[in-house]
C-alpha cells in the first residue's frame, strides 16, 4: 500500500478562485455571501446566497466547449484544471498516466432541470430544448474533468449530497493507495438553485443575511455554490518529481445514521468519527483541528458538537466552519473544507468561524475559532462532512514532515 498525498488544490469559490486567492480570503475571514442574482429572488423573504458571481468558465477551461456543459460540470472541470496547475503537473504526462476523477455533488446539473422546467411551464412539453436533456446526468461532473484534462481512467460522480466531497476524496485515496491509479482528481461541485433555496427556506433552515455556525443565535445556512478539486498522488511519486506536498491523506470513515432523512444524529456522527480515526490509524488526541461540517443550522451544529464532545471529551480541539464565509456549497463543501484546512496546515493557521458573537452553552466547551484566523501548528486535521440521508463522511489529513 502506498502513502497518498495532496499536491494540488483547485478552489473555484465565492471568496476566490485558485489556491492563493482562496487561502488569503479564508485567512482574512472574507465573506462570499451576496444578494442572489442567478434567479429572481424577490419573492423570497431571505435573498442572500453564496454565488460565484465572477465565474468565467471559458477563461479557466482549455478543452471543454462551455456551451455543451452545465454549470456544475464547468465548476468541476475548472477546479480540476486549477488543481493540476497548482500541483505543477505536466498536463500531457498526467493524461498519459493512470489517472481519473471522482467528483461529489448534491444536485448535479439541477440547474439544467430548472431550465427545462421553466420551458415546460412557459411553453409545454413539446417546447423543451432538445439539446438540454443530455446535460442532465450528474455523471457529467466527473466526465467534464476527464474530458478537460484528457484523463483516461475512471470518472465517477458520487451523489451523496452534502458530504459528497469527502466521499470523493476517500475513494480517490483508496485508488491511489492500492495502486489502481497514479493520479486522481477528487472534489465536488454544485450550483445555486432556486428549488433548493426554496426547500431549505421552507424547512426554516436558511439564514436571513449570513450564516453563524456554532453561535447561540445561529439561524441556518446560506445556499452557495462552487467547485473544489484536489490532486492526489503517491508520496513516492510526489517526492520523485519534487512536488510541493500539502498533506498526507491518512484515511477516512463512512457510515449512515439510518435514522432520519434531514435531521443529523449525534450517535451516527460520533461513530463516523471513530471509523475515520481507526481507518487513519490515529487517536482522538492526535487531532489538532476539526474542520466542521458546521452548516449553521441549530440542529446540525448541536449534533456535531455533541458528537465531538462524545468522541474527544470535554476539551476537544478547535473546530471551525468555513461555511461561515462561503455559505453551504453542498456537495463541494467538504472538499472546500479540505482545501481550507490544508492551506491552514501549510501556512500555520486555523480558518475562523466568522459572524460569531455569542457562545452557545448547549455546545459545551467547543472552541469555534471565533471571527479571526488563529496562528497554529497543525499536524493532523479531521474534516467533517454530513448530509441528508444520514450520509456521514470524514477525511483525515496529516502533515508530511
Amino acid at each position: 500500500m502506498r502513502r497518498v498525498v495532496v499536491t494540488g488544490l483547485g478552489p473555484v469559490s465565492n471568496v476566490g478562485t485558485g489556491a492563493a486567492a482562496f487561502g488569503a480570503s479564508v485567512r482574512a475571514g472574507r465573506s462570499g455571501v451576496s444578494p442572489i442574482t442567478s434567479f429572481d429572488a424577490s419573492g423570497f423573504p431571505h435573498r442572500n446566497a453564496g454565488e460565484v458571481r465572477d465565474f468565467a468558465p471559458e477563461e479557466l477551461v482549455e478543452r471543454l466547449d462551455t456551451a455543451e456543459w452545465g454549470r456544475s460540470s464547468l465548476f468541476a472541470a475548472a477546479a480540476a484544471r486549477l488543481a493540476v496547475a497548482d500541483a505543477g503537473l505536466d498536463p500531457d504526462a498526467l493524461s498519459r498516466a493512470e489517472s481519473g476523477s471522482v467528483m461529489g455533488t448534491t444536485s448535479g446539473e439541477s440547474q439544467i432541470i430548472e431550465r427545462l422546467t421553466e420551458e415546460e411551464v412557459a411553453g409545454g412539453w413539446e417546447s423543451l430544448s432538445p439539446h438540454l436533456p443530455r446535460q442532465v446526468p450528474a455523471s457529467r461532473l466527473a466526465y467534464a474533468v476527464n474530458r478537460e484534462l484528457g484523463l483516461t481512467g475512471e470518472a465517477m460522480t458520487l451523489a451523496t449530497a452534502c458530504s459528497a466531497g469527502n466521499y470523493a476524496i476517500g475513494y480517490a485515496y483508496d485508488l491511489v493507495r492500492s495502486g489502481a491509479a497514479d493520479y486522481m482528481l477528487a472534489g465536488g461541485a454544485d450550483s445555486v438553485l432556486r428549488w433548493a433555496h426554496a426547500g431549505f427556506f421552507r424547512l426554516g433552515a436558511v439564514a436571513e443575511d449570513v450564516s453563524s455556525p456554532f453561535d447561540r443565535d445561529r439561524s441556518g445556512i446560506i445556499t452557495a455554490e462552487g467547485g473544489a478539486a484536489l490532486v492526489l498522488e503517491s508520496l513516492d511519486g510526489a517526492l520523485a518529481r519534487g512536488a510541493r506536498v500539502y498533506a498526507e491523506v491518512l484515511g477516512y470513515g463512512l457510515n449512515c445514521d439510518a435514522d432520519h432523512m434531514v435531521s443529523p444524529n449525534p450517535a451516527g456522527i460520533a461513530e463516523c468519527m471513530r471509523r475515520a480515526h481507526a481507518n487513519a490509524g490515529i487517536k482522538p488526541g492526535d487531532v489538532d483541528y476539526i474542520c466542521a461540517h458546521g452548516t449553521g443550522t441549530p440542529a446540525n451544529d448541536l449534533a456535531e458538537a455533541t458528537a465531538v464532545l462524545d468522541v474527544f471529551g470535554d476539551s476537544p480541539p478547535p473546530i471551525s466552519s468555513v461555511k461561515s464565509m462561503l455559505g453551504h456549497t453542498m456537495g463541494a463543501s467538504s472538499a472546500f473544507g479540505a482545501i481550507a484546512s490544508l492551506i491552514g496546515m501549510r501556512e500555520g493557521f486555523l480558518p475562523p468561524t466568522t459572524n460569531f458573537s455569542t457562545h452557545d452553552p448547549a455546545l459545551g466547551g467547543i472552541d469555534p475559532v471565533p471571527n479571526e484566523a488563529r496562528p497554529a501548528d497543525v499536524r493532523i486535521v479531521q474534516n467533517n462532512g454530513f448530509a441528508f440521508g444520514g450520509n456521514n463522511a470524514i477525511t483525515v489529513f496529516g502533515r508530511v514532515s
Binding site: V136, A138, S139, T157, G253, L254
Partner: protein, 386 residues
C-alpha cells in the same frame, strides 16, 4: 482505464432482486428472461401530464404499499419506492446476516442518473407557479435530492454501514460494482446492497424522446439490487455464492473512440479475472437501439471477444432503463445461469458504454443455485424456475 487490480476482492453475489417491467423478484425476472418476454404497457393513465407515447416499458401497476404496507409509503417518490422494494426483496433473498447487530457493517451503493428528476422538476415548478416561490411541499424536499432512495432505504432496513449514491447513468452498474468492491476490500463494510434505480415519468419520457430522436426505443424503469460480499469470506464460511464478479475495468475517452475504450476495458477485465476470451459464454450488452452507440458497443465487443459469445440484450425486454440498465444486464446473466445448468461455473461479460465516452466491462462467473432452489430444468424447457 481503471480496474479492479491491486487488491480489490472478487465479489460474491449472495442474493438479488429486480423490480422490472417484466417481472418482480429474482424468480419473476428469471422467468421473463427465460421466456424472452418483453415489457410494454399502456402508460396513458399514469400521470396527469401528457406523454409523448401511450406505451412504454413502465410498471404502471407498481405500488410500494403492495410490498411494504401502507405505513410510511404515502409520500414516497417513485425512485425511492422502487428502491425500497428492490432492497427489501434482495435482503429477503440472501443468507447474509443483516440484523441489528450487523447493521453497522451492512451498506448500500445505489446507482442513478440524477435521482427522481420528476420530483426535482415538480419542486422547481412549484417555485414558479405557486403564489410565493417558497410555497413548496417540504415533505418532498428530501426526494428532490439525488441520494434520497439510498438514504430512505437505509432507514427502512436499518443499514448503518456505508450509504452511497453513484450518479453513473449508463455506467452505473459497473460503477456500483467497482465502488462496492473497493469499500469491501478496504474494510469499510462487510455486506453491500449494490444496484440502481430509475423511474418512469413524463420528464423522463420527454427527455428520452429528445435523446433518441429518430429511433423507436421504448423507455423502461425499475430497479435491480444485488447482495455482494467478499467471495473468499463467503466460501470460508461454507456458503455458496450464486455468482462472482471477478473483475471490472472501465475508462473514458473521446466519444468517437468508444469502441476502442470498450475493447480495452473488456481485455483488461478478462486479464484481471484470469479468463480467456474463448471461455466467455455470453455478453450482456447495453445495446438499446440507437445506431451510433450500439455500433460502438458491438464493435468493441467483437474486437475483444469475437463472434462466439451469446449476445444478451436485456433492453429488448425491459426497455431503456438508464442507470438501472447495467444491473438488469447482470440480472439477465444470472437468470440465464438459473435457467441453464449447462452454464454452471462458466463466465460471462457485462458491457456498458455512455454517450460521454465512458466504457467498460465486468467479468461474471455464474453458478447453479445450491440446495432446494436449484434450477428445475435446462434452459427453455418451460418448467418453473424457483
Amino acid at each position: 482505464m481503471s480496474s479492479t487490480r491491486a487488491g480489490a476482492p472478487v465479489l460474491a453475489v449472495t442474493g438479488w432482486s429486480a423490480v422490472s417491467p417484466v417481472g418482480t423478484g429474482a424468480a419473476g425476472f428469471t422467468e421473463a428472461v427465460r421466456e424472452g418476454r418483453a415489457g410494454g404497457a399502456d402508460v396513458s393513465g399514469m400521470f396527469d401530464a401528457p406523454l409523448p407515447s401511450d406505451r412504454a416499458h413502465a410498471i404502471p401497476d407498481f405500488r410500494a404499499a403492495d410490498h411494504l404496507g401502507r405505513k410510511g409509503t404515502r409520500h414516497l417518490d417513485r425512485s425511492t419506492a422502487l428502491a425500497l422494494v428492490a432492497t427489501k426483496l434482495a435482503l429477503e433473498s440472501t443468507d447474509a446476516a443483516v440484523d441489528d447487530d450487523t447493521g453497522g457493517r451492512v451498506g448500500l451503493v445505489l446507482g442513478t442518473t440524477a435521482g427522481s428528476i420528476r420530483t426535482t422538476s415538480e419542486f422547481s415548478r412549484d417555485t414558479l407557479v405557486e403564489e410565493r416561490p417558497y410555497l413548496v411541499n417540504p415533505v418532498m424536499f428530501p426526494s428532490a435530492t439525488i441520494n434520497c432512495p439510498a438514504g430512505r432505504s437505509a432507514i427502512w432496513h436499518g443499514l448503518r454501514g456505508v450509504n452511497a449514491t453513484v450518479a453513473g447513468g449508463q455506467m452505473a452498474g459497473l460503477n456500483v460494482l467497482r465502488y462496492g468492491a473497493n469499500l469491501i476490500g478496504r474494510g469499510h463494510v462487510d455486506v453491500l446492497l449494490a444496484g440502481a434505480v430509475e423511474e418512469f415519468s413524463p420528464h423522463m419520457a420527454w427527455g428520452h424522446r429528445a435523446l433518441t430522436d429518430g429511433y423507436d426505443v421504448p423507455l423502461g424503469e425499475g430497479a435491480a439490487v444485488f447482495v455482494v460480499e467478499d467471495a473468499d469470506r463467503v466460501r470460508a464460511r461454507g456458503r455458496t455464492p450464486e455468482a462472482e464478479v471477478l473483475a471490472s475495468a472501465f475508462g473514458t475517452g473521446a466519444p468517437e473512440d468508444t469502441a476502442r475504450t470498450l475493447e480495452a476495458g473488456i481485455v483488461r477485465a478478462l486479464r484481471l479475472a484470469g479468463v480467456d476470451a474463448d471461455e466467455v459464454w455470453g455478453v450482456a450488452t447495453g445495446e438499446h437501439g440507437v445506431a451510433g452507440l450500439d455500433g460502438a458497443e458491438d464493435a468493441g465487443v467483437r474486437a475483444a471477444l469475437g463472434d462466439g459469445p451469446v449476445r444478451v440484450r436485456v433492453k429488448r425486454l425491459v426497455g431503456e432503463c438508464n442507470s438501472a440498465s447495467g444491473p438488469f444486464q447482470l440480472a439477465a446473466l444470472l437468470a440465464h445461469h438459473r435457467s441453464d445448468p449447462g452454464l454452471d461455473g462458466r463466465v460471462a461479460v457485462l458491457t456498458s458504454v455512455s454517450s460521454d465516452g465512458a466504457a467498460g466491462a465486468a467479468v461474471v462467473r455464474g453458478h447453479r443455485l445450491p440446495g432446494p432452489s436449484a434450477p428445475a430444468g435446462p434452459h427453455g424447457d418451460g418448467e418453473a424456475v424457483a
